[in-house]
């Protein structure tokens, strides 16, 4: 099977999984106790008014009709209107998405940029102080609840030393770039100041995780015969480590990272809660609390879909970097 067909097949599977996600999310409303009308209708609403509201929202139709209606609307990109504010759910979700994506991307980039060299150093200087420091850090990193880490960072860096803002997002990256286009670099500085603590909070677990994976993977690879053979042909050590051993180390790391995207988003939810970061995480918590079903469903679908899409991308990347993959 060619790479293209492989990806196509994975994409089809992905569509299937997304359909599953949508269905689960849709059904969630019906297993949840409490009539959504109660949250929408005014206090003294008469039964007639309740029925009218139900009719307006299509809640009086049979379940399967509602389901197919929902699917049809979803395909058109329509996630309905917020029960609470009456605004378009999709608009609201996509307005929040950049903040979360920004946070997740920065955290991931920082995590990758720090952890891979750390893991390599740790593996190549085994039993040296650098290794002990890296393993201690990574053990602590995977064992620390990130919300607590965030609070401690605020306590020390914001409350005590006043180096970073304690919360919020002053402006988005795109806005900061807009300032830069006008010749004002301060936008980027402000942006960086606001995103630093949330990104550290979210990224630490992943930095630690990838450091551990890289270290054990590198140790594994460096012990393999081909590394010795590569050294034997006179290649510089940096080439042996990075081009050969690290490349093979990263192949499984990429897969694990794809699977960990879920915990990245989960981590983003709580990080956003800690830093009042206006992203999807705070939106999903608020809408769950308010039983704002169109928003809850929309958020979960967007999160589930991005998970599936990213994993397809990871699979494709995996297939690309790993010639041994059998496309089946």
């Amino acid at each position: 099977m060619s790479l293209g067909r492989f990806i196509l097949k994975r994409a089809l599977q992905g569509v299937f999984v997304i359909w599953g996600v949508v269905t689960v999310v849709f059904l969630l409303r019906f297993v949840t106790p409490g009539d959504p009308i109660t949250f929408i209708a005014p206090l003294d609403a008469s039964p007639a008014l309740r029925q009218r509201i139900a009719a307006e929202l299509g809640l009086n139709k049979p379940l399967y009709v509602q389901y197919f209606d929902y699917l049809a609307e979803l395909v058109r990109g329509d996630m309905g209107y917020s029960y609470i504010s009456g605004t378009e759910a999709s608009a609201r979700i996509f307005a929040r998405l950049p903040a979360t994506v920004e946070l997740a991307v920065v955290a991931t980039l920082v995590a990758v940029a720090l952890s891979i060299p750390l893991g390599v150093v740790s593996a190549t200087r085994r039993h040296e102080p650098a290794d002990y420091a890296a393993t201690t850090f990574s053990l602590a990193g995977i064992s620390t609840p990130n919300f607590w880490l965030g609070i401690m960072l605020v306590l020390v860096l914001s409350v005590q030393f006043d180096l970073f803002p304690t919360s919020r997002r002053a402006l988005g990256f795109v806005d900061a770039l807009g300032y830069l286009a006008q010749g004002n670099p301060n936008g980027l500085i402000v942006w960086a100041k606001y995103i630093t603590l949330p990104a550290i909070t979210l990224g630490t677990y992943f930095t630690a995780l990838i450091t551990r994976l890289t270290r054990s993977g590198m140790l594994d690879e460096l012990g393999k015969s081909y590394v010795r053979a590569t050294r034997a042909k006179g290649l510089p050590e940096s080439l042996v480590r990075y081009k050969h051993a690290l490349r093979n180390t990263l192949i499984p790391v990429i897969t694990v990272l794809g699977l960990q995207l879920g915990s990245l988003i989960g981590g983003a939810v709580i990080t956003e809660a800690v830093f009042a970061w206006p992203g999807l995480g705070t939106l999903v918590i608020n809408s769950i609390n308010a039983r704002d079903w169109p928003l809850i469903q929309g958020c979960l679908i967007v999160i589930g879909t991005s998970f599936v899409v990213v994993n397809i991308a990871v699979d494709a990347l995996y297939a690309y970097v790993n010639p041994r993959v059998v496309y089946d």
Binding site: D44, L49, S167
Partner: protein, 536 residues
């Protein structure tokens, strides 16, 4: 819609952001914050035409933001504060709570059921159109009539008794008709009933009404980023003098410490709900101050009369004796509250000055529990978290005291406010938790707006039913003589004290942090009007 948003973000967003950043930079000027400085270094440069070096911009940070911008489709103080910058009612209140004219210049009681409002001339909506009596009548009807304005408004009971509003032929006036004697109508109209423009509402979809603003107030909407911020600019054609503030930004931070940090670092000018432990940071910072005022909000623990053990009067009274309210006020609330003895707050019409706060008497409490026959009861107190000043701590303290009784076991159940409020507002007592902490703000300064909805048998939010109490309230509601009405309300409050449908807790203080660069005095009714802010 999504496309609109995108294109709006593209160019206008940059321009407006530079404008707001410039405003923030002027804040940073005094706070030494980390805001954006333009390369030229003057801190005021920006692309926005209206922005200039002298702009006076103010930011107000609440615990949460609006739930949409339709002034008739919400019931929260937070949304109200967002919208009161742009929408006005027919009547208003001054800082002391006295009723003053607003869009209605005058009012007149035409007969027992009809109040005539004379609509002010020369008032413009932000759309540029003139205010008409039709708009006023439409707005009131939109609230009280589910078939008007495409909305079943949750504010219907805030205009209790009103059946309709009609335009008076040949006059610039509107008749507001009630279903009977309505002694509190003026008071209600002074607090509720924002006026919208009929044609504007009718030409818009629900989601547009929720994301655009067209009022008569001193500020018009510049930018609305849902859940993030609402930015208003001064409405130059306001019927009174234009505001001293050029730009108002409202945003939110759920954590009190976060709000205080924002104030201290100069990111905002007014923050709400400053907990006592954060007061020191504001005062020590030197560039901001703490403003406190007794609010119109009472915090209480409701006990449902229809379930054991709370069906027992003895048990309910025992709960009041069990807690050391004075200590809670002193230690948990650092005296930023007053202890209460009845549902009505001091200074309100109908407040009974002769009832005493329940003393702390655990022995009496234990005895009453035994007497009630519910010794060994397990009770669970549902409480919202972060909604009221120290709500969770108060709940935990109450439960802590109750647990000290050897014959009752109590626990706290932390609830999300939205979910809890949902259960409380279904209109059916069965949906409510048996025992819950909640706060009630009554901006009318009249006991009836507390007693009727919360404690009468038919009240939409009630947890109690008592014939004697119902009778007293009903009589007061039909009583046109003010003194006689006040006496009836006092008696009702005495009954409530004795029967103890609640654990009476505290009157909350509104504790604000305000930056040193603004002149502003907090109000008892919890409203924050940017119109009343001026530079120092």
């Amino acid at each position: 819609m999504a496309d609109d948003r995108q294109s709006r973000i593209s160019r206008r967003r940059y321009l407006s952001l530079v404008g707001s950043a410039a405003a923030a930079a002027s804040v940073a000027g005094c706070a030494g914050g980390d805001e954006i400085q333009t390369p030229s270094g003057d801190g005021n440069g920006g692309g926005n035409g209206s922005g200039n070096g002298g702009e006076f911009a103010v930011t107000i940070t609440q615990g949460q933001l609006d739930s949409g911008l339709d002034p008739h489709d919400h019931r929260e103080t937070t949304t109200d504060i967002v919208l009161m910058q742009a929408y006005e009612g027919t009547l208003d209140r001054d800082a002391e709570g006295k009723v003053v004219p607003s869009l209605a210049e005058e009012y007149e009681q035409v007969d027992d059921t009809t109040l005539r409002l004379f609509v002010r001339d020369g008032v413009k909506f932000h759309s540029g159109d003139e205010l008409t009596p039709e708009d006023v009548a439409f707005s009131i009807n939109r609230i009280v009539n589910n078939d008007v304005g495409g909305l079943a408004s949750p504010q219907k009971d805030q205009l209790a008794g009103v059946t309709e509003a009609t335009v008076v032929d040949g006059e610039r006036a509107v008749d507001v008709v009630s279903d009977g004697v309505n002694p509190v109508l003026v008071s209600l109209l002074a607090s509720y009933g924002d006026v919208m423009q009929k044609s504007w509402v009718e030409g818009r979809q629900k989601n547009q009404i929720n994301s655009e603003v067209n009022g008569t107030g001193p500020f018009k909407l510049e930018r609305y980023t849902e859940d993030e911020e609402v930015v208003y600019t001064k409405f130059e054609e306001y019927w009174r003098d234009p505001a001293a503030v050029d730009r108002v930004t409202l945003n939110a931070a759920a954590e009190s410490s976060t709000r205080v940090n924002q104030l201290v670092s100069g990111e905002t000018d007014i923050v709400v709900n400053v907990p006592p432990q954060e007061v020191g940071r504001i005062n020590n910072q030197g560039n901001a101050r703490v403003e406190a005022v007794p609010s119109t909000r009472i915090i209480y623990n409701a006990m449902r009369y229809d379930v054991e053990p709370f069906s027992s009067r003895e048990f309910r009274r025992a709960m009041n004796y069990a807690i050391d309210l004075e200590t809670i006020v002193k230690e948990v609330l650092s005296d930023f509250a007053d202890a209460t003895s009845q549902p009505t707050l001091e200074g309100f019409v109908g407040y009974n000055p002769d009832t005493d706060i329940y003393p702390y008497d655990p022995d009496e409490a234990e005895r009453l529990v035994e007497e009630s026959g519910h010794a060994g009861a397990s009770i669970e107190l549902h409480t919202p978290v972060g909604r009221y000043l120290k709500d969770l701590e108060i709940a935990q303290a109450v439960v802590g005291y109750i647990n000290e009784l050897p014959n009752v076991d109590a626990t706290v159940n932390q609830r999300d406010f939205g979910t809890l409020a949902g259960e409380l507002t279904t209109g059916s007592i069965e949906d409510k938790p048996h025992f819950y902490l909640i706060g009630w703000g009554n901006e009318t300064f009249d006991a009836s707006q507390t007693l009727i909805p919360l404690l009468t048998s038919e009240g939409v939010l009630t947890s109690w039913s008592n014939e004697e109490f119902d009778d007293l309230v009903a009589q007061s509601n039909a009583e046109t003589d003010e003194n006689a009405r006040e006496q009836l309300l006092r008696q009702a409050n005495q009954v409530a004290h004795d029967e103890a449908p609640w654990i009476f807790l505290n009157r909350q203080y509104s504790v604000y942090g305000a930056s040193g660069r603004i002149e502003w005095t907090p109000r008892r009714d919890e409203s924050i009007k940017a119109y009343s802010i001026s530079p120092k």
